[in-house]
């Protein structure tokens, strides 16, 4: 284990985090509005609409059921058009966004549906319009759940990004495959796995902590 390898691993950590953060953010840009639409068009939602709900639901389900590596490979032509390359971090980000957006849509949909329908009814009775209910009631009331689900989404994206190492994606996954697997270097394999596990733990736990701190539903001591 020489310094050069450690340097590689350092770059790998950076790349994994960079890919996962960008991909998660983009997945929320796409998935969050979809989650809102899914929850709102549900038959108990604010704007029930069977056609939109079922149509979108089917698309989301199809995308979610494609295994990540197959999705990655299938997307190669599109990836080339979008980012001009089919390997490394940019290419991985494209596939990650495709894989994570429908997942985020379902996660956020679940968070929104957890909001107490009585609270929404009270807001309606106050004369609130649908957009106002969304911004002032549904999102704030769902926030603790949205935060803890965001941690799950991020951690899932990290997992996918590691898999992408198998087909030319960058980051820690690529290091584990190239140095660890192909060159039979068990140490590097173990180190990368440990680092990935550590990253996952840190983000999962802090996500839950933040969500808990933000949640006003439990009794908490005042000052």
């Amino acid at each position: 284990m020489n310094a050069a390898i450690w340097h590689e691993i350092g770059i790998g950590v950076g790349e994994t985090l960079y890919m996962s953060v960008i991909a998660t953010l983009l997945s929320y840009v796409i998935g969050l509005p979809l989650g809102i639409i899914l929850a709102a068009t549900d038959k108990h939602g604010l704007k029930p609409n069977v056609i939109v709900n079922k149509g979108l639901g089917v698309i989301v389900n199809i995308l979610r059921s494609i295994p990540f590596l197959i999705l990655f490979v299938t997307l190669i032509p599109l990836t080339r058009v979008l980012v001009g390359t089919t390997i490394g971090a940019p290419a991985t980000i494209v596939a990650l966004v495709f894989a994570a957006s429908p997942f985020v849509a379902r996660l956020t949909e679940t968070s929104f549906k957890e909001v107490d329908s009585g609270v929404i009814e009270a807001a309606l009775a106050c004369g609130a319009s649908t957009p106002k209910i969304l911004i002032k009631v549904v999102i704030p009331e769902a926030l603790p759940s949205l935060i803890s689900n965001a941690a799950i989404a991020f951690v899932t994206v990290i997992g996918y990004s590691a898999m992408a190492g198998f087909c030319g994606g960058g980051g820690l996954g690529a290091i584990a495959i190239n140095y660890g697997y192909y060159r039979g270097n068990t140490d590097i394999m173990i180190i990368t796995v440990v680092i990935i596990v550590a990253i996952v733990q840190i983000f999962q736990e802090s996500g839950l902590k933040i969500a808990k701190l933000r949640d006003r539903r439990k009794k908490h001591k005042n000052k």
Binding site: G118, C126, P144, R217
Partner: protein
């Protein structure tokens, strides 16, 4: 002109379910007079919630009319309907407070929705919270309050936009007898102080007896009887009313 604030004509409401149509309300005729406290009593499933929800169009009637100050509310445009709802306050059995907002901000909510000037909002909300006896809880979250305190916040919120009518759907059903009495006298106070027209939905005779001027008996989606509380309670005419009174007698 009339001193009826709400007039309900031939109101029917049915729900489509997997096992066919369920009639929740049939041929309801009812008036709410300005300044009165009208009770609507009925057993579980009688259609009480459905009926009050038709008054602010949280529920669309299948047929029939609801007139608010002479205007057919079904004819209102979306914007006008939102305005109408602001002049009808509503409180609920489960309080339905915003769990992530503190007491003050819960009462600020309707004022934000209505676009009240920022400078006025806090004044109005604080004044109302003082009136309901919660001046010392402005920064508390709903999870830190008792049921009675939560309902006081809900009342302050319902009155924030100075409504003409207050609808109470089983507002005391989740509370113990002592707290129930306190909340009822609070409602009664607002009624006598400001002439606030109030509709009280309940399955408890005690609630009606304590604060209502008139009572309507709702049974399986139909109003079987309506009149002054004393009259209905001393000489009930309908079977439903007799039954309600008999059960109370038996229970005591």
């Amino acid at each position: 002109m009339t001193d009826n604030i709400i007039t309900i004509n031939n109101l029917c409401k049915s729900y489509k379910t997997d096992s066919g149509e369920v009639a929740a309300l049939s041929e309801i005729n009812l008036t709410v007079r300005k300044g009165e406290i009208l009770g609507i009593i009925g057993s579980s499933g009688a259609g009480k919630s459905t009926l009050v929800r038709c008054v602010n169009l949280l529920e669309r009637p299948t047929s029939g009319q609801v007139l608010f100050e002479g205007t057919d509310i079904a004819s209102l445009k979306r914007k006008e309907l939102l305005k109408l709802r602001r002049s009808i306050g509503m409180i609920f059995q489960n309080f339905n407070l915003l769990s992530q907002r503190n007491v003050l901000k819960n009462v600020l909510f309707p004022l934000e929705i209505a676009g009240t000037a920022k400078s006025e909002r806090v004044d109005t909300a604080s004044r109302l919270l003082k009136e309901v006896g919660l001046s010392d809880k402005l920064k508390a979250y709903p999870s830190q309050l008792s049921g009675g305190q939560k309902q006081r916040v809900a009342i302050a919120r319902a009155l924030a936009l100075n409504p003409q009518v207050l609808l109470c759907d089983e507002a005391t059903s989740a509370l113990d007898p002592e707290t129930t009495a306190q909340i009822l006298s609070l409602i009664k106070d607002f009624n006598s102080k400001y002439g606030l027209t109030t509709v009280v939905i309940t399955h408890e005779l005690g609630v009606i007896r304590r604060i209502c001027d008139r009572v309507a008996v709702l049974d399986r989606g139909k109003i079987t009887e309506i009149g002054a509380v004393k009259e209905v309670f001393t000489s009930p005419q309908s079977d439903a009313a007799k039954r309600l009174l008999a059960y109370e007698g038996g229970a005591l």
